[in-house]
Symmetry: none
DNA sequence: AAACGATCTTCAGGTTGGCTTTAGGTGGCG
DNA sequence: CGCCACCTAAAGCCAACCTGAAGATCGTTT
């Protein structure tokens, strides 16, 4: 049971190096030297993980990534970003990548991250959730109301995510607890209320909306309207 | 086991193109060139997925979609929305479509999305109940009379739900008690009357209706008329 | 190591709104 | 006419909920 890897990288020297290394580690590696070939191969075959350079001839890494996700392909993707910067990371994850690595990278780090990615598996998950004009990006701890970016803490995000996965439906406090906290959380359920309060202050109040609704005795509901 | 597709599209050139492409991919494609034929074929045959253009002669895509859903047909539907601003995606999904694609679309994308739709088997049949123009959504603890949303408390909802599950039938007070309250409720059975009263004030009175009928000595009945 | 900032969690006071009971009223039915 | 089932407005009670603030925890910086 080999791990099948697709490597899309135009620098032939680097591509060969990585391929050699990974092959030695027991990976089955295919290489594509430009974006369009890479996209085609990714669609044609079933890989366990895809390594994508960002800057590629004919079709860049971001585009490949979004196109795959759009096509319902949720193979784990690692992006190799040329420039080191926050902007690149954000863009990579925005486009549906699962992890990224800034060039130049150490081979050992690549290997470790790849293994982590494969282990995590490519569970099917949407690139982003949308509830009305609220978009939630599960890859990063961020969300946007229209064009306005909203910073969320990890827990706030977890709660919002739990609600957004079932828009318009009532999600009970205990469901939120089970999802955003450990399964067997022993603490005060009031904590959910605290986070609901914080979320409202961020996603509703500044916009004069009330999309996060309390359903007394039942739970909370996130509405599109 | 072919995948059976119904394509409802009046632009003959486009229809033939798509049909050709999909046939080549192993789909069994039927084409209808106007809305009424499309609806008829959708009802007559059992398709795995239906592709609906929005703007169609004789009966538009939205109408076909709602009519099918009304008739209890939950075949996955993909809507093709012309991007002229009159119709938008949200409307497509509101009408019960499972996915939409804005024209002009790439054939590859259409193919991928269709496959995803078929794989998922479409939206789960909503569990909402309908009694005449009254719809009850247990997942969201909401109910509507026509387009008007009605706010209900959990107990009110529980009672209404108990009635709506058996539309037109008499449901006894003790059945309602057993269902909406704990099995062994020790309180005053008059409470049911109180809630019936509250419900009437919300779902009948404002609409000049009397759908929630008392059957003296037997219980209550929720009527479609 | 110490200090710091951010986040998480707990706590407590205040408020609200739904649940239930009560009680007087209505109307069907013998 | 009187009984009984049902209707419904009103009010008290209590649990659920909101929220500001303080304490606890964790990771990062100095």
């Amino acid at each position: 049971m080999d791990v099948r890897v697709l490597l899309v990288e135009d620098e032939k020297r680097l591509a060969d190096l990585v391929k050699g290394g990974l092959t030695g580690e027991g990976f089955a590696v295919d290489v594509a030297y430009d974006g369009r070939d890479g996209l085609w191969m990714a669609k044609e075959n079933d890989y366990d993980v895809i390594v994508l350079d960002v800057m590629l001839p004919r079709l860049n890494g971001y585009a490949i990534c979004s196109k795959l996700r759009e096509a319902g392909n949720w193979t784990p993707i690692m992006m190799l970003t040329a420039k080191d910067g926050v902007y690149d990371e954000a863009e990579a994850l925005d486009n549906g990548a699962d992890d990224y690595l800034a060039k130049p990278f150490s081979y050992v780090v690549l290997l470790a991250r790849l293994r982590a990615l494969v282990r995590r598996g490519g569970k099917e998950r949407p690139v982003s959730l949308t509830v009305g004009d609220l978009t939630i990006d599960p890859a990063g701890l961020r969300c946007r109301r229209g064009e306005t970016e909203i910073a969320l803490t990890p827990k706030e995000f977890a709660v919002l995510h739990g609600l957004a996965r079932r828009p318009g439906e009532v999600v009970s406090k205990s469901e939120l607890l089970a999802q955003a906290w450990d399964f067997s959380y022993e603490g005060d359920p009031n904590i959910v209320e605290v986070y609901i309060s914080a979320l409202r202050r961020k996603i509703d109040l500044p916009f004069g909306r009330t999309t996060l609704v309390t359903v007394r005795g039942a739970g909370y509901r996130l509405e599109a309207a």
